[in-house]
Symmetry: none
C-alpha cells in the first residue's frame, strides 16, 4: 500500500532534535512491503498539520502521524485533525479513568493530563493496556495511525500494532519484497551505472539504486511482486546479473565492511597482519581494529610520519628514500618488508603518500600514494595511485585502497584495480 509519514514538532523544524522516527517508520513499512510516497515534518502549527494531513489522506492508502499527542499546550495534533477531517475531539472516559489510576490528580478541577483522554471522534486506542498514547482513526476508508513522538514508544507501537493491523487491512494483496545492498570499492558511480543500466529497464518489478558513500558506492536491488513465489526467482536472477557486472569490485553485501571481510579472510586462514603507515597516520590500523575480535589477527604496527622513523623503526635504507623518494613504490615495499620483519606478521601493509595541501611536485602531485604489501613466501608488491580530493578525502581513499589491496591479495585477485587512477 502507499504510505505517507508525518512527523509533528517545533523541535524538529528548528533542527534542535534530529527526526529519527520517520526514518524508522519508513524502513519498517518498506520492509513490510509498503511504498512511502512522502515523509513530511511540520511544526506544532494546527494549520500546517491540517494541510499536510488532508493532502496525505487524499494521496496515500494510509498515513502514520508521529508526535504532538502529549498533554502540554504545544501538542496540537488533535486540534488539526478536527480542522482537517471534521472529527472533533471527544472525551474517552476509559482513558481518563486509566490516567487517574496511573497519576493522582488534584482534589478540585480537571486532571493535568486530561487532554490525553480527548481523541478525534471515532478513534480506537492502539494499545489499551500499555498506558501509551497512540490511536487509529479510519477516515474515508483509510487508516490513519497517530503515534507518540517519543522514539521508544513509537517504535514499539509501529512494530507491535501498526504493521500487524495493516497486514490484516490489506488482506491478500500485499507485495512480497526482497532487497539486497551491494558494496563496491574501486569503481566510480557512473561506471557502475553504465554496467547496470540495461538491467534497470528490464522489468517494472525491479528497482536498482546507487548510493555513493565515500569512498565506496553502494547499489541496492529491490524485487517486488504480488505473487510471493515469483519474487524469489526474480530476485535471484537479478542478484546474479549484478554480481557478474560488478566483478571483483564487489567486496560484500548488507552490513559487511571492507575491514570485516579482511578480518574474516585472515581468521579463516589463521594468519596475522601488521601495518606501516605514513600519510594515513594510523587510519588503516584503526579501520582494522573497528572489527570486534581483530586482536586475533592484527598485531599492530608503526606510524612513521617522519623519514627518520621510517629508517629507524622499519629499517628502510636511507639510500632507497634518497634515490626514489619517501613516496615511491620502492619505499612503500621497503616499509612493508621492514614492518613484517619487525612484527613477524604474515602480511604487512604499508602506505606512504602526499595527502596535501602542501608537499606536491610536478612528478608527484598531491594525491600520489604508494602502497606496499609484504607476505610470507612472496617477493612483496607495490603499486602507486593518484587520488583526487582534499587532504581528508585522500587519506580516506588511501586507507580503503590499502585494505582493498590486501583483500584482493588474499583472494588472489588482480591488483591493477586502480590503474585508471594513476
Amino acid at each position: 500500500m502507499l504510505a505517507e509519514i508525518i512527523a509533528v514538532g517545533d523541535e524538529l523544524t528548528s533542527g534542535r532534535v534530529v527526526n529519527s522516527t520517520s526514518g524508522f517508520a519508513a524502513r519498517h513499512l518498506f520492509a513490510a512491503g509498503h511504498e512511502i510516497l512522502a515523509m513530511t515534518t511540520v511544526g506544532d502549527s494546527p494549520a500546517m498539520i491540517a494541510e499536510v494531513l488532508a493532502r496525505a489522506v487524499g494521496r496515500a492508502d494510509f498515513v502514520v502521524v508521529t508526535g504532538g499527542l502529549g498533554a502540554t499546550t504545544d501538542d496540537r495534533t488533535n486540534e488539526a485533525v478536527a480542522a482537517a477531517l471534521g472529527r472533533p475531539p471527544t472525551l474517552f472516559p476509559e482513558i481518563l479513568a486509566r490516567i487517574e489510576q496511573f497519576a493522582a490528580g488534584p482534589a478540585v478541577g480537571p486532571h493535568p493530563l486530561e487532554k490525553l483522554a480527548w481523541l478525534p471522534a471515532g478513534s480506537e486506542v492502539l494499545s489499551p493496556g500499555a498506558g501509551m498514547a497512540g490511536h487509529l482513526l479510519v477516515h474515508a476508508g483509510k487508516p490513519i495511525f497517530f503515534l507518540p513522538g517519543v522514539p521508544e514508544e513509537m517504535h514499539h507501537l509501529l512494530t507491535a500494532a501498526v504493521i500487524p493491523q495493516l497486514a490484516v487491512w490489506q488482506g491478500g494483496s500485499a507485495l512480497a519484497v526482497r532487497q539486497r545492498l551491494y558494496k563496491v570499492f574501486g569503481l566510480e558511480e557512473t561506471e557502475i551505472n553504465r554496467r547496470l543500466a540495461s538491467l534497470e529497464d528490464d522489468d517494472p518489478r525491479i528497482k536498482i539504486g546507487y548510493y555513493p558513500v565515500f569512498p565506496e558506492v553502494h547499489v541496492s536491488l529491490t524485487a517486488q511482486d504480488h505473487a510471493p513465489d515469483e519474487t524469489g526467482p526474480l530476485f535471484d536472477r537479478y542478484d546474479a546479473a549484478i554480481r557478474r557486472a560488478l566483478g571483483d569490485a564487489l567486496y560484500g553485501t548488507g552490513d559487511e565492511t571492507l575491514e570485516g571481510v579482511i578480518g574474516g579472510l585472515l581468521t579463516a586462514r589463521r594468519q596475522t597482519l601488521a601495518t606501516a603507515e605514513s600519510c594515513t597516520g594510523g587510519l588503516v590500523g584503526h579501520a582494522v581494529t573497528r572489527v570486534a575480535g581483530s586482536s586475533a589477527y592484527y598485531l599492530g604496527g608503526t606510524v612513521t610520519y617522519s623519514n627518520g622513523l621510517k629508517e629507524q623503526l622499519l629499517g628502510v635504507d636511507p639510500e632507497t628514500i634518497h634515490r626514489h623518494g619517501a613516496v615511491s613504490g620502492e619505499t612503500a615495499r621497503a616499509m612493508a618488508e621492514g614492518c613484517r620483519r619487525l612484527t613477524g606478521a604474515d602480511y604487512a601493509l604499508a602506505v606512504t603518500g602526499i595527502a596535501g595541501p602542501g608537499g606536491g611536485t610536478p612528478e608527484k602531485p598531491v594525491g600520489t600514494v604508494c602502497f606496499g604489501l609484504a607476505a610470507s613466501g612472496t617477493g612483496g608488491q607495490d603499486i602507486c595511485c593518484r587520488f583526487r580530493g582534499d587532504r581528508s578525502e585522500i587519506q580516506i581513499i588511501a586507507g580503503a585502497t590499502a585494505l582493498d589491496l590486501l583483500r584482493r591479495t588474499l583472494l588472489n585477485k588482480t591488483l591493477d584495480f586502480h590503474a585508471k587512477a594513476r
Copy 2:
C-alpha cells in the same frame, strides 16, 4: 523568511539511509532567523517531486531542495522542475567544459557526466569554482536552492552560499545576526544545559542551542536585533558568560577542532609529538594527521595491539604488564615513556583499553581505557577512565580523551576532567 526543505531520494523513503541533510538545513536556517514551515522527503519520482515543489513554492518565501542532482538515471530532480515550474533542462556549456577538464570522457559519444551540465533554464551555479553540483533558480520571485544530497557538499553549500545569499535577498529588513559555535569536550549535554539554562530566559533576542556531535557537544549562541549597533555588545556580553560557564571544557569555536588546537599549540612551541596506541588502533595518530602541516610536529609512533609488541617496540617491562595488566595506568605510562625514548619526541601519548565487546572483567569492564603522557623534563602522567558505549564509540571517545589530555597538559590545565567517568 518562511522556508521549506525538500529532500529527494528512494534511499530516504525506503529508510535505508537516514536523512541528515534536512535536519542540518533546518538547524542552520533556523539559527539564521528563518522559520521552517515544512520538511518533506520524497523518493526519486518526478511526479511527487514536482507536486511537493510546486506546493512549497506557493507556500514559502524560499525553498531548499537536496538530492537527485547526480549523473545517474535515478537522479530526476531536474525533470521534476521542468514539470512543476515549466523550466526545461538547458545545457550549460561552462559546466560541461569543467567536467571535461576534470574527468576525461570517451573519444566518441556524450560524456558520462554530461547530465550534470543540464540545469533548469535560468539557473545560476552556486559554487562555480568548486566542481560541486548546486544551483539557484529564482521562480515567481522566490529563490529555490538545489543542493547535492551528499552531506559534506550540502553542508558546505548551505553555509557558504545559501545562507549568505538569503541575507542579501532579505535586504535591509533583515535582523542583524551574530552567531558563534562553542565546542566542548568532557561535559555532558545535560550538565552544559544546567550551566547555561539561566542565560536562556534572559533576553528574547538571544538564542542558545545544544548539539551533541559525539563525542563532543557544540553550543550555539545567536544574538539578533533590528538595531545593528545593539547586536554587537549584546552578543559580546553573552559570549563572555558562556565562556565563563564552560570553562576548560571549551576547547575552541567555529571550525576549530581538538587536533587543530593541539597542532597550533605544538607549532607555537616548536615541540614534537609521538603516539603509542593499543585499543584505538591508530585513531589518535590519524586525527593528528588530519591537520594540514602536521608533519611539522608529528613524528609518528606505534600501534601495539599485542602485548608482545608493547614489550618489543616500546620496551614495556613484561613484569609491569603481568603485575598491573595491559590496561593499567602503569602500562599506559610505560608505553608513553617507551614511545618517547623510541622517537625522541617532546611529548608521547599512549592509549590502552578494552573497547569490547569481549575482554572485560569485573575489575576492568569493557570501556576501561588508560592514558599515559610522557613529556621532556617531567615524570609523566597517567589516568584511567571508564566509558560507556559500543566498541566504536569507546574507541572514538578514547581517541578524543587522549587528545584532550594533551591539550590540557599543554595549557597547564587540570587533568581530573573525566573523574566523573571513572
